[in-house]
Symmetry: C2
Subunit: 413 residues, 2 copies
Amino acid sequence: MSANILEGALIIGQSGGPSSVINCSAYGVIKAGLDNPHITKVYGAHHGIKGVLNDELMIMDEEDPEELKNMLHTPSSALGSCRYKIADPDDDDTDYKRILEIFKKYNVRYFFYNGGNDSMDTCNKISKYMNRVGYECRVMGVPKTIDNDLAGTDHCPGFASAAKYIATSFMEVSRDCHVYDTGMVTIVECMGRHAGWLTAAAALANLSGDGPDLVYLPERDFDMAQFLADVKRIYAEKKNCLVAVSEGVHYADGTFVSEAKTSGTDGFGHAQLGGLAARLAEVVKAETGAKVRGIELSLLQRCAAHCASGTDIEESYTSGKIAVEAAVSGVTDKMVGFTCTRDGGYHCEYTLFDLSLVANTEKKVPLEWINEAGNGVTQGFIDYALPLIQGETGMVKENGLPRFVKLKKVFAK
Amino acid sequence: MSANILEGALIIGQSGGPSSVINCSAYGVIKAGLDNPHITKVYGAHHGIKGVLNDELMIMDEEDPEELKNMLHTPSSALGSCRYKIADPDDDDTDYKRILEIFKKYNVRYFFYNGGNDSMDTCNKISKYMNRVGYECRVMGVPKTIDNDLAGTDHCPGFASAAKYIATSFMEVSRDCHVYDTGMVTIVECMGRHAGWLTAAAALANLSGDGPDLVYLPERDFDMAQFLADVKRIYAEKKNCLVAVSEGVHYADGTFVSEAKTSGTDGFGHAQLGGLAARLAEVVKAETGAKVRGIELSLLQRCAAHCASGTDIEESYTSGKIAVEAAVSGVTDKMVGFTCTRDGGYHCEYTLFDLSLVANTEKKVPLEWINEAGNGVTQGFIDYALPLIQGETGMVKENGLPRFVKLKKVFAK
């Protein structure tokens, strides 16, 4: 092992859409980095890889260690995030040369990138480049995505907390929308462009009988006529209908149901979706005459740290810590993930996956976890997701409100 | 006191839009009623006064007392609510005759109505009618409204929990919408037709520096040009702007800003509002070219029991209990409310207000608690609201999710 020892500084960066627990993973990296004798300095990249390119590195050693603990209960990316698609080095190596320059300037030998598919791709490209130019640097992916769509790992840090918030909110909204005897259709839109994990999580609310009547995931083609028939049938039976629908539902030809309302794209070329709930509500109202309400969970579902899963917090923190330990012991070019068993109780093992396997693939909800009618999930999904949402946040309150981390943000010169 | 003793059954009904803690007040009434030797039976009216008119009364004595405790953490109206506007008895006494018939049938001598302004009006009319026809019955209003717009009382049960959820969500969304360095305007719409209490609560998030930059209440006329100038100024300064806006903001001529998108009315003739955030987002996007996101808190803000205020739960429960104690001691035609002092620590006294004073009036945010520019609140509001959101829910979880009350709903024959 001693041959593998590499002394140097560490950079942790955060990328992509944030989550309630991405800071737990980052804190796991930072804490382990600060505690490790071989890591000479811990830097936080300001706004992900852009912080490296712009030489904006926050010295985490300058932060109060007690204050840093509040990262465990602070949503969004405390270091700042970005949506920056790095070029292929064969096409354009400008960014890579600049990254190498910064790595050399600060003697950075450990690079950790905390994000989703695109971030694992960035990680992978940097790792390969550093290898090619002979700069010794250990590069590790620390996953995060509420979308839960990373390959290899059983689940992704961030998913469980969003799932817990979504299921909780569906239980609450279900009680609310049943309060009158006058009938109502409620359509709630959840995030998830291509993978329906978050929308499926709404079905966890059905464990108590307070969940959605209908659940539509993007893994199955959406059929407006069938949707309307489903809603009409439930409404006729119960005089009420609660629907969970993914922002990414699309017709058989691939066009998003929300498409006509879409404009603009994010930095990675994904269409910006939204307004689907309102749109479906209009259609249902016109077709049924029922009172209809559309609700979009919007950003709330990815930042509701006050309703985070204790399991998610613990696993996210540990994955960051394990990434550092693995890198110090000589591992590089891997993503930390989870291998879980559920028979005889939930058990989670931390596992290292090849970055190249993870980058740019999307893991969808298995079709066998969607019911035949395409309007609900099976027990298979419930058994999968339920252990992940166990445990509470343990968030400290101040003035009856969350206490989020306050960083000094001391930048390296 | 003994001359005042009145033996008989009790009816508790719930009316209007629900809240996270309306069931706490109802539980206070039910528990005190079940415990009181002079109260022979406790009935829950199914869907408020409609349950009385339809002879649909649930026997609360048949419920498991342990299970009933879960009402303290169950949002929405567990007994069912209604939006039924009772006629003036001078115009049409049909409903009153029917209510009297039901009261006689079940020997109802105590009637408690749990709701907002309209419910206090219903209460008041029933009380006056029973008095006129010489049927001895004690009628008490038990307030609830997230809108916080009832006259007399310092604040209304339900407001604080919604306020806590709104402030918490603003803190979380603020962290989320600052995550990129690319600039963003986020517009969050809060409930409140004519009173801006809930929207003002967003400003509590500013205590930690994570709150809205701009707050618009319906107490001040909305000026689109000024709004755009405000947003542009903040965005130019900070490359980011978080806005809290009440669904009820209106132009100087009284028309709601959301009006063009409005259709339908609720049972009391109020226009149904919504879609304001999306509408303002469109205007800001067109005017600034910035990335803009509109978020409507919708039903979530009035049913988020998982984020209820401990103070609100306690006060709501106690107000129900005190209503029963007062009625048994001979009081009638009153609403339980709060008289509070905040100098030298928050102190809340339970007070009885005349129903006639409370019915059909709306208490708005005092103009002196709105800043001169009309885009924020003053310290006066913060000092008022902050004590109310203290304390946590104490909600029991099952499977990592809330455990809501399950009523047997045994109906009286």
